[in-house]
């Protein structure tokens, strides 16, 4: 079989279409930096979606379960080898994604003989101060962006843009507390999810706050909100904590 440059182009385009198609329905994940740590939030059906990678790293992704798991395990392996061989201080999100994960994803994507990873991921690194916290969003083709303050991944660029607007409207000079960060993240999640056009029963004219909150209430009929934090100042060895979301949801959505 002859493999021309045209075929190569086509092959990547096909792969890209295939992956984008499968990511479209993914429930978004939002990351927000707050004064006492870093928060990841999403809504899901059954399978857990937010994971601890290392002392100060956590991860979440949308896409195929097996691919999410492969990248999770590869990340944990790399982080622990580095942390054990050198020091936990040498395990950073920049090294993990930039050096280990992203090039491997790119190679897999370009490989004509295998299927692509179906995944879009976000990594969060907690640092000493909130303004130093780093977020990396990673695409199935190995492309990644480095962000601070907050980050969001969703099924399509439209979803992500809608979430980015919510995040940028609130990430001012003031670092939020956990309660506020939770509300920002939930709002951004709703903004992204509403882009799918499903489950949004309220008329356009309704006040935006009422609208996203009623959208979340509706979504909670069939899914649950999952949130986890890395705690900045805890004296415990384990900084990662899965949050009990019900008190936050009660406060925000009014019982």
């Amino acid at each position: 079989m002859v493999f021309t440059p045209y075929d190569w182009n086509q092959h990547l385009a096909h792969k890209s279409d295939y992956v984008e198609d499968r990511l479209r329905e993914g429930s978004p994940v939002v990351a927000v930096s707050f004064d006492e740590g870093v928060l990841l939030l999403t809504a899901r059906k059954s399978q857990r979606k937010i994971f601890e990678i290392y002392d100060r790293l956590m991860y979440s992704a949308i896409g195929n379960q097996a691919d999410i798991e492969s990248i999770r395990i590869a990340s944990i392996d790399f982080a622990h080898q580095e942390g054990y061989g050198r020091s936990p201080d040498d395990v950073t999100v920049q090294r993990l994604v930039g050096f280990a994960i992203s090039p491997a994803l790119k190679r897999a994507f370009n490989d004509a003989t295998s299927g692509p990873y179906v995944l879009r991921a976000v990594f969060a690194e907690m640092c000493k101060r909130p303004e130093e916290d780093l977020f990396l969003t990673l695409n199935y083709d190995g492309e990644f962006s480095v962000l601070s303050g907050g980050a969001a991944i969703g099924g399509t660029p439209d979803h992500e843009e809608a979430m980015g607007q919510v995040l940028s409207s609130v990430t001012g000079d003031q670092t939020p507390g956990l309660g506020q960060a939770f509300e920002i993240a939930l709002h951004a999640w709703a903004a992204g999810r509403m882009q799918t056009g499903e489950g949004d029963e309220t008329p356009e004219s309704t006040d935006p706050e009422t609208r996203w909150k009623s959208f979340v209430k509706e979504a909670l009929q069939t899914s649950i909100v999952e949130a986890a934090v890395l705690e900045r100042d805890t004296r415990r060895d384990r900084k990662f904590k899965v949050l009990d979301t019900s008190p936050y949801l009660d406060t925000i959505l009014g019982g």
Partner: protein, 243 residues
Amino acid sequence: MLSCGGMAPISFTGADPAAALPEGLVDTQGTTVIAVKFDRGVLNVGDRRATSAHAILYDRADKVLPLDDYTLVAISGSYARAMEVVRYLRHSFKYYERSQLQPMSLEGKLAELTRMVAGNVASAMQGIGGFIPVLSAYDLEAEEGRIFFYDGLGARFETTEFAAAGSGSERIRGIFDYILRTKRPFHEMALEEALRETLTLLDIAADLDSATGGYAKIPPIAKTITQAGVEELPESKLKEMIA
């Protein structure tokens, strides 16, 4: 020169294997570490001295080390080997929990430590790198502290009240029993009382064993594990108790 705990069933008797080692290759060792239960969990104390043959190398050694938020290991014997093992176990426990999405069972943690001690026998027999750990853990389900001690081959025993390891521990072995018989079990004591008893034990060990540091200059290390996790007692509190 292997400082095995007094309770270690095996002993390295006969010619001192370390005597054959070139100067400079003698292990950093010599210790007394003590683990006792108290009413809310487990208390570990340890002296701060690290020795190499007859030299005192360091007077701020920390021989009571957390493996995770609910596990402490107190080490005696070769400092170099023990520290590497602690570093390995910390990573191993974390790796397991993160990758498997469930914490390693206490039994699993004990087995890993057994493997570390047992794998080290050959080099310990040659006089390098022998170490004896005491592992303390808080059992969140049973809501009680638990203490396990090891011998040099990796045999593991659970104790109901106390354990000690290191060259000084042999000298004070009988005092534990005396306290149990004449006062009361450690697990009924409040932290304050258990701390006072163990600090006295450590002071006696330092008086009787040259490789155990006293606390005239630097207070010992004391750490507890309770339902709230591992906590290091502040130096100020220890100084207050000693004075």
